[in-house]
Every structure is written in C-alpha cells, then in structure tokens.
Amino acid sequence: MYAVKSVAGAMGLGLIGFYLGLGIVAILRWLFGYPDPWGGEINIIGGWVLGVFLWLMGIGMWGQWGREWFGLKTYQRNLPGWQRYFTFNTDHKVIGIQYLVTFMVVFFLAGALAMLMRAELAQSGNQFLSNGQYNGTMGLHGILMVAVAVAAVIGGIGNYAVPLMIGARDMAFPRLNALTFWLVPPVAVGLLATPFLGGIEHGWTAYPPLAIRTNSAQVLFSLSIITFGLTSILGALNFIATIIYMRAPGLSWGRLPIFVWSMFATSWVALLYTQGFAAALFLVLLDRLGFSFFDPATGGDPLLYQHVFWFYSHPAVYIMVLPGFGLALELIAHFSRKPLFAYKYAVAAFLGILGLSGVVWAHHMFTSGMPNYLHGPFLVATELISVPTGLIFLSALGTIWLGRLWLKPPMLFALAVIFNFACGGVTGIFLADVPTDIHLQDTYFVVAHFHYTIVGGEIFALFAAIYYYFPKMTGRMYSERLAKLHFWWMFIGFNATFFLMHLPGIKGMNRRIADFQSELDPLNFTISLAAFFLGASFLVFIWNMVYSWVRGPVAEANPWRVRTLEWQTTSPPPHENFPSIPVVRGGPYDYGVPGSIHATFPSAPSAGFAGAPAGGGQ
C-alpha cells in the first residue's frame, strides 16, 4: 500500500524533524553561551518548525515541488481509489473531500467536548470536571470549532465546488492547494496534544496576561494556530487567483454564481486579516520567551493584544458566515426555481461586508478599558454592517417569494440558515450597543449570540452543502427520509439549546466558568437536556452518510435538475472535471426564462453530452 507507507514515512520524518529541531535549538543555545541549553519552550518552537517542514516534504511535497527548487525533475503519483486521499494529491476534488472529512471528524470530536461541558453545567457545583479540566475542555472545544468554522466550508465545499462552478479544470495553484491541506494534520495533532501539557486555560481568545503565565500547552496552541493561519492565507490566495483567472469563457463577473462571489469576498477577508491572529499569538510566544509586549510593568500593554487579535477575529466571523450566506442564496435560488432576487445587490452586499469588516473590531472591547471615545465610532460602524447583511436577507426573501419551493434536505437547511441568522443578527445589536453590552459582555448571552450566527448561519449551511453535493461527490444518493429527520431534529435541538441560553446570560451567568449560582439550576439543566438532544441528531447524519457512501443507490449526474456547471458533468466528475471546457452563455439562475441556457459544451469526442446545451431553463 503506497499510501500507508507514505503517510507513515511522513509521520516518521516529522517526528525526526521535531526532535532534530529540539536538538538544534539546544546546540545553538549552548554555542551562544546560554546557561541552560534546554530552554524548554524555545526548543519546542524549533522542533515544531522543522517537524512540520519535514512532514510536508515526506508526504509528497519534496517529490512534486521541492525537487524543482534544485532544478531536478518532479514526479507525480496518481493512486487509485481511496489511496488518493492519503497522498499529496493536487486534484481540487480530492482536496475538497479531504478537508470535508477531516473537519467533520474534528467537528464531532469538538461536539463531544461540548457534551462533556453541558454534563458539567447541568448542575451547579463541580460534578465531573475540576475547574482546570473544565477550562481545558472549553478551550479545546472553542478552538477546534473555530477551526472547523473557518476551514470546513471554505476548504471543503469551496475547494470542491468553486473550480467546477466556474468551469475550470482545477485551482490556479494546485500544489499550493495540496500544501494547505497537508498543513492541517500537524495543526490537529498540536491542538489535540494540549491536554497532555495541562490544557488550554485561556479559551480560544488567548488573552494575556493569562496566556503568558499559563502552562506550556499555550505554546502548542500558538504554534498550531499560526500554522493554521498560514493554511487559511494560502488557501485564500489560491481562491482569489482562481476566481479572477480561471473562469470559463463567457463567465463574466455578472454571471458568476453567488456562492463563488461569496467565496471571493471571503477569501479577501482571510487573505488580509488572518495575519492578525498569527501576529497576536506570535507576540504572545515572544512574551513567553522574555519579551515585553503585554506586561505593563515594563512598558507593554495587554490591550495591544486585544486590538491585534480582534483585528483578525472580528473579520473571521465573516470568513465563517459569508460562504454560508453564499450557499444559502445559491440553494434558495435553485430550489425555488427562480432567478436570484436582486443579484447585483447581493454581490454589492458581499463586497460591502468585506469593506466594513475591518473597522468594527473594538466592539469586542467595550468593557476592556480602552479609551471611551472609541465606543461611539465602533458602535456605529458595527451597526452599519446590518445594511449589507440586510441586503442579503432581502435577496433571500425575494427569491423565496412566490417561488415554487422544492423542500429537499439541502433547501430545508438553507431556509434554516436564514431563520437562525435572523435571531443571531438581532442579538448582535444588543451586543453592539454599548449600554446593553456592558451588562451582557462575557455572559451566556454572547455564547448564545455567536452560536446562533456560527452554527445557525454557517454549520447549517455546511450541512445544506453536504446534502446538496453528496451525490456529486460520491456518485451515490443518501436516504432523504433520514436527511429530513436529521434536519428537524437538529433544527429543534439547536433552537431549544441556544434560545434558552440567552436567559441565564441576561441574568448574568458568566461564560467559561464551570460553576454558577444554584438559582440557575433548572434553566441550565434544561439547556443541557436540549444540548444532548441536539448532539444525538448527528448520529442520524453519520449513519446516513456512511451507509449511503457504501451502499446508497447510484445518483444521477444532476439529481436536483440545477443549471450550474458542476451539475453538467458526471457524478463524480472525471479527473479534469469536464470533457471540454464549457462556454458560458447566460446567467446561472434564469429558471423559467424561455430559451435561456447557462452554458454549452463545445463538442468533444466520446462525451455523453457532447455539444449539448447544458443547464437549460426548466
């Protein structure tokens, strides 16, 4: 088995690199006359860098890329079947599935941690977890879920669908694409190793001074996130170049499917802001090594961290939710069998959010002690974002209006995105208003808000996309009954859990704490029950996916009778997607417009639909 050998070899190399890095740093320290060559954390940093590098080289980057730097010939190995998924494969469809499966696993793992937290929170006092263990569980849940939210839709669905939708054979930089995926396993290993060093104590936000003083798990956390940031940035770069340069002939900007537009806006956000998280954690690492950015005693300022961190992490919420919006609009148009309402305004809204996302970050810092004169501007800027967000809503509602809704599982999830996000957006306004936020900051109200936006807005969209693309990706169909069961189960469980969570928040129950006042017991017990109910819904999903992937009935090329390009090729698509590059002749959503077609395929020998117009208006 080549794949097994290659992964095992790469892991071995990575481990050797890690120890080599530890040693090299120790030798350097010794050469420079430090009293303790074994500095501890600085050695880990050296080990991480070398370990990740050798891991990448081992997994296939050397053969396909590295050799080129020295003027040698590169080679490629195209393995059959499942082995593709375990090698440095440059096919965007393979990479999309790699991302998707990896992050679904991470999602369920982090979900299990949430169940553990809810078990602890079902009752006041400590039952299962000590305070320290609770912190570690909460921090790991938070950061893993942030990783899922940032990468599952972009890396999974984006990679899979964008090149297909724009009629390209692959991404602009296929090897870079594979690189971004193969950086993920070290990140996962790093984060999952944190409990062994004492656990993440500071939540996903890693504020100093705690982040400076806490245990060495912080170092793994920072290194993993910096690496993950690199993945995000390189992926974004790839999407932008792909969308600008690889569109099929005739696919003008005005004909671009809305999901592609949302990926375009998202990618700019990721490209320009991800530096903030990486830089903030880099400075934390330096402070742990004796620098003084955040220690007021020696001229530093902990607020600097919050500024740099939120400079990324507010835009990050748009990295999470914009592709979700894009998917929701896309699916709503297809399953309402109507042209997308106000397409141009929706595009403008995506670009508007892109523009505004960088100037609102301090709404997370209203109670931090930053200067008061900053409150007003950041309040206003934050609420301004509701304007473009509202446009997206109107576009969705206008499309549904008088449409012939086809309530298939993807459509159900897409509609739920609109409903859930409305709740999340409304609670956002209370948080953006300084007078209310001063009371709500750091309570369960915030937790409810961001779960409504991220789970309700993005994770629901992710499931919509999975149910939409499953037949395309696997060539098989899932059980629609189970999918609908999953939908209603998840929808009810989600709303019960997170709607109720607002209430203890309003009463002042702090987030991130294992214990609470006993008067909140009944409420928290109910929330925990609802959360377990929500958690159980995913078992249906897992069963349905695994069973159908193996045993499901064979799917048609275009089971949803949709016009966009990814459905005009076989399921699953062949290696380079299309027998010939399509020529786009009209918009993607002109359902019911007589005589309209989206694209034609110039005749290619041997293709089933050679020369046939594809995606007619039906």
């Binding site: 730097w69 020295f70 003027g71 054979r169 602009a172 930089f173 870079l176 940035i233 770069l237 790839n238 932008i240 170049a241 600008i244 340069y245 690889m246 099929a248 002939p249 490209l271 320009l272 802001y273 991800t274 530096q275 903030g276 990486a278 830089a279 400075l283 330096l286 402070d287 004796g290 620098f291 003084s292 950015f293 020696t298 001229g299 530093g300 300022d301 600097l304 500024h307 740099v308 400079f311 010939s580 590059i581 020529v583 002749r585 005589g595 077609i597 034609t600 110039p602 005749s603 290619a604 020369g611 046939a612 117009p613 007619g616």
Partner: protein, 189 residues
C-alpha cells in the same frame, strides 16, 4: 435553444496566462505580508509613540544603503536575464546575495551592541521588527542562492525568466518593508 447549439465554438482549452496567474499570486502574497508588517509597525507606535532608544545611526544608514543597493543589483540581474544576458545576470544575482548577507550581518551586529534588552518594550518592538524582517532577508538569500545556482547552469532566459523575477520581486518587497521600518526605528525622536 436551437440557435445556441448552432453556434458551436471549436473544442479548445482556454489558454490560461500562467505567467499572469503566477504574478498575481505573488502579489496577493505581498498584500497579505504587508498587513503583517503593518501590524508590527502599528504595535511599535501603539506601545512607544515616537520614543526611541539610542541606536548606532551610522550603522543604520549603512545597512539601509546596502539593502537599497541590493535592490538595484537584483533589478539589474532580472533585466539581464530577461534579455538573455546570462553572464551579467548570474553575476548580479551573486552581488545581491552578498549585499543581503552584509545587511543580515549588520542587523546581527546591531543586536549585539544594543544597550537595551528585549524585556523592555522598546527592545521588544525593535528586536521583533528587525528580527522578522531579517528572517525574510535570510529566506530571500536562500532563494537567491537557489536561483543563482540554476542561473549559473544557464537555465533561465527571456523565455523562462519567471523564477528569477519571482525571487527578485520578493527581494524588492523585503526592501520596501525596510524603507518604512528604517525611519520608524532609527529616525524618530
């Protein structure tokens, strides 16, 4: 519909302009890096205002001139290779490497004589900014050495200048960063 099928273009693959795509990718990378360097620059003013500790002004000016000069040699190398003048190209790549090493050495020397420590906030920003920048310089030197080795074997010419152009562009970018870092670190009051 019949109308549309009647007008079939011949089967063809769109001729992607690979050079343009590569170039755009590199620029996107620069945009992203700009934010990183910009954040560090902002952190410097956020923490310290325009306060600065005493630095060796002569050394600062010298390494600045060295780095600017290396950009000129890099430009010369790239232009030469684009015009198939392989010999001049390799020599100037070599000069660029040399100047880059002198710059890195200058920074290292500055570090060794600095009278402030990393545990003071000016020390923190100074060592971080120069350190991150110098890391980019050293990476650039490594990449220059790689293309230089190929250039010596005559691998690049007007048809195939992109690897040289890419490394040289990166080199200029690192230079542009220093154009801002030098005054921010050495020339404030």
């Amino acid at each position: 519909m019949a109308l549309a099928t009647a007008h079939q273009e011949a089967a063809h693959a769109p001729a992607y302009n690979h050079l343009a795509i590569n170039r755009a990718g590199l620029w996107l990378f620069f945009f992203s890096e700009t934010i990183l360097f910009g954040l560090l620059l902002s952190a410097r003013f956020y923490l310290e205002g325009i306060h600065r500790e005493e630095l060796n002004q002569f050394l600062g000016l010298l390494i600045t001139i060295v780095l600017l000069l290396s950009s000129v040699t890099a430009y010369t190398a790239e232009t030469a290779i684009e015009h198939d003048n392989k010999k001049v190209g390799s020599w100037y790549l070599f000069f660029t490497i040399l100047l880059g090493l002198i710059f890195a050495g200058g920074v290292a020397f500055e570090w060794s004589i600095a009278h402030f420590h990393r545990s003071e906030s000016f020390g923190s920003v100074f060592f971080t900014m120069t350190g991150v920048h110098a890391t980019h310089v050293v990476t650039g030197v490594f990449m220059l050495i790689l293309v230089w080795a190929q250039a010596l074997r005559g691998r690049y010419g007007s048809k195939n200048a992109w690897p040289v152009s890419a490394v040289v562009m990166y080199w200029h970018f690192v230079d542009v960063v220093w154009v801002f870092y030098y005054p921010a670190l050495y020339l404030t009051k």
